[in-house]
């Protein structure tokens, strides 16, 4: 079936550095999402993105976070600067318009901030 890819699978960085998480969504999907999952906790919505714009973001989506998808390339989540509490697994998802309950998720990027 359709797959969402995420690069890298793991990332270890020092606190204060910048990190960019990359997502290759399903090719004909138009809505893109980022979710955050801290180990042992539930998945939490960060942001959704459509037509080049952030549609909605949660309180977890701090000012240090940004998303973009330049020219149909990767959908990216950038954190600058990173903080210890940003350590988590970040999942990218995508969906078709009108089918928002059925989101396709990537395998996640495990981010460790030291």
């Amino acid at each position: 079936g359709p797959k969402v890819l995420q690069i890298p699978s793991h990332q270890i960085i020092d606190m204060g550095q910048m990190v960019t998480l990359n997502c290759d969504p399903v090719s004909n999907h138009l809505y893109f999402y980022w979710y955050k999952q801290i180990l042992g906790q539930q998945m939490e919505f960060l942001v959704n993105f459509y037509n080049g714009k952030v549609m909605e973001k949660s309180k977890l989506f701090k000012d240090q976070f940004s998303v973009e998808r330049p020219d149909g390339s990767y959908f990216t989540l950038k954190i600058q600067p990173t903080a210890l509490e940003d350590s988590a697994v970040y999942f990218c998802a995508s969906s078709l318009p009108g089918n928002y309950a059925e989101q396709f998720f990537g395998p996640g990027t495990r981010l460790t901030v030291l």
Binding site: Q6, Y33, E56, Y100, G106, P107
Partner: protein, 115 residues
């Protein structure tokens, strides 16, 4: 405010048993409900969804779920589980309208299937 409650953190059954994983939600408007499965080290995989119509919906791999408005529930069931069904199962509600297109997940239920 939408909430999703999964009352069982861990369910253990034997292969061939039936299983029901419980999900209750709170939301005042029209909603979408869905279930996802997460195998260890992998992303979430969509199982099934409900929006309207027949309250019993069929999903992949023999899973089904039943919506109940009176109980505010959307429990997931399988008649005969396989060891490969061992995973974490997440119930999710999608807010409709002004709530946008985000999914709100429950805490998840770990299903362990013993041989």
């Amino acid at each position: 405010t939408q909430t999703v409650s999964q009352s069982d953190a861990h369910v253990t059954v034997f292969e061939g048993d039936s299983v029901e994983l419980r999900c209750n939600y709170s939301y005042g408007g029209s909603i979408y409900l869905s279930w996802y499965i997460q195998h260890h080290g992998h992303g979430l995989q969509f199982l099934l969804k409900y929006y309207s119509g027949n309250p019993v919906v069929q999903g992949v791999n023999g899973f089904e779920a039943e919506f109940s408005k009176s109980d505010s529930s959307f429990h997931l069931r399988k008649a005969s589980v396989h060891w490969s069904d061992s995973a974490v199962y997440f119930c999710a509600v999608r807010g409709y309208g002004s709530s946008g297109n985000k999914l709100i997940f429950g805490i998840g239920t770990l299903l362990s299937v013993k041989p």
